[in-house]
């Protein structure tokens, strides 16, 4: 292989890697949410167009402030992600960020993230905090910037094009040794929020940590999520979105579709591989091919997703 070829393939690999880390697009299609890869949206506009106007784009785990070897340029990969969203033929009405906006909850990290988000053509962004955004006891830095929608509670709801969106916070009230927690107050609020809504209303629930148990030894789950699910089960179309684990894992249970998004910053290991859920550091070309495989098998063939493949549960 010549140097030129090597360079080209490396560029392509990096491009794929960037797409691979770029988030997930959801298109509303007859009340069914179809995850498609942003590479597909950007590279095959006809294919994306067939899915209709996108309702929203989920971005997750931007980790602004991270500067380790797994990705020394998280600002750059977020910008690439935003450019892909901006390049879509039909702009989504909303952006949903499922947390870990920053890496260390520092004011300068939040400020930089907000500055980078201004590049988005879609200006309406809804967020929930991750545990990396709330390392200060009072969550002051996050709420100062993103707390208005929830009156500094972290949970809130809104409607868009007939879809009811519910944003939840499950990164506070950690019990030592335990999983994420919603808490009684928030669960009571959800019950009141959903009461009286028609079962035919499509529901989108989003939080940072998975609202289903993916791998408890690493805390990849929410301890009291069952109480939430019992409130959601009567609805005909429920989509539950999370970030946190920096990789796509999906399952379908009745009318409920669960989906975790990739990160725009760095990958994490598959559940249980290694000492813990830290940044996954591998040579760039290995990283690209690994993410590429994930892209192909999970994302490029959405119609083939039977979603029985929850190998990690």
């Amino acid at each position: 292989m010549s140097d030129d070829q090597s360079l080209v393939s490396r560029r392509n690999a990096l491009k794929c890697m960037a797409y691979g880390g770029a988030g997930t697009l959801f298109a509303l299609s007859g009340g069914v949410f179809t995850p498609i890869d942003l590479a597909m949206a950007a590279g095959d506009k006809q294919g994306a167009a067939k899915l209709g106007k996108p309702l929203f784009v989920q971005i997750s785990d931007t980790h602004i402030g991270f500067n380790k070897e797994a990705n020394p340029d998280v600002n750059g990969t977020l910008t690439q992600t935003i450019d892909i969203v901006n390049g879509m033929s039909a702009q989504p009405a909303l952006i949903i960020h499922t947390g870990d906006i920053t890496h260390l909850s520092k004011p300068a990290e939040f400020d930089l993230a907000q500055q980078l988000f201004t590049r988005l053509r879609t200006t309406e962004m809804h967020t929930v905090p991750g545990e990396h955004d709330s390392t200060d006891a009072t969550v002051t830095e996050y709420f100062n910037r993103f707390g208005k929608a929830s009156n500094n509670k972290g949970y809130y709801s809104f409607d868009h094009e007939g879809v009811h969106f519910v944003g939840l916070i499950n990164v506070l009230q950690f019990k030592p040794g335990g999983l994420g927690t919603l808490g009684e107050e928030q669960l009571a609020w959800v019950a009141a929020d959903l009461k009286g809504r028609s079962a035919s209303t499509p529901i989108v629930v989003f939080a940072h940590m998975p609202l289903w148990s993916i791998y408890e030894p690493w805390g990849w789950g929410t301890g009291d999520a069952d109480q939430l699910m019992s409130q959601l089960r009567r609805f005909g179309s429920v989509t539950v979105l999370n970030g946190h684990i920096h990789q796509i894992v999906q399952k379908v249970e009745g009318n409920m579709t669960f989906h975790t998004a990739r990160s725009t910053s760095y990958p994490q290991p598959v559940a249980g591989v290694g000492s813990g859920p830290g940044p996954l550091k591998v040579p760039a070309d290995q990283l690209a091919s690994m993410l590429g495989i994930t892209s192909v098998s999970v994302v490029k063939h959405p119609s083939a997703l039977t979603l029985n493949d929850t190998a990690l549960a």
Binding site: L104, E131, T135, G177, W218, G219, G276
Partner: protein
Amino acid sequence: MIKLTRLWLAALSIVMLGGLGASISLAAETPDPTKIVVKDFMFMPTSLTVKAGSTVTWVNMDEEPHTVVSNTQMFRSGALDTKETFSFKFNEPGTYHFTCSIHPRMVGTIVVQ
């Protein structure tokens, strides 16, 4: 002289560890008796016994940030990035449990005598 110092520290640590019960194994290197290393998503040692008035220092050696948060809100670090430290002085005898608020599976205990 160096050898003597190490021997002395080793002897001291054996004496200290002797009072801690079976949960702690002797490390190959002489540990700093007031330091907790955060590595591989664990507090090491998991339980540390110090005398009243001691200042305990946690140092994060992971590439992932961690926090040190008292179960009773007595102390709380911010997010510790790689190689950052947090210290707290324990004046009163007692047993103090702490966790990492980012990874609550990580737990540890300070016993102040």
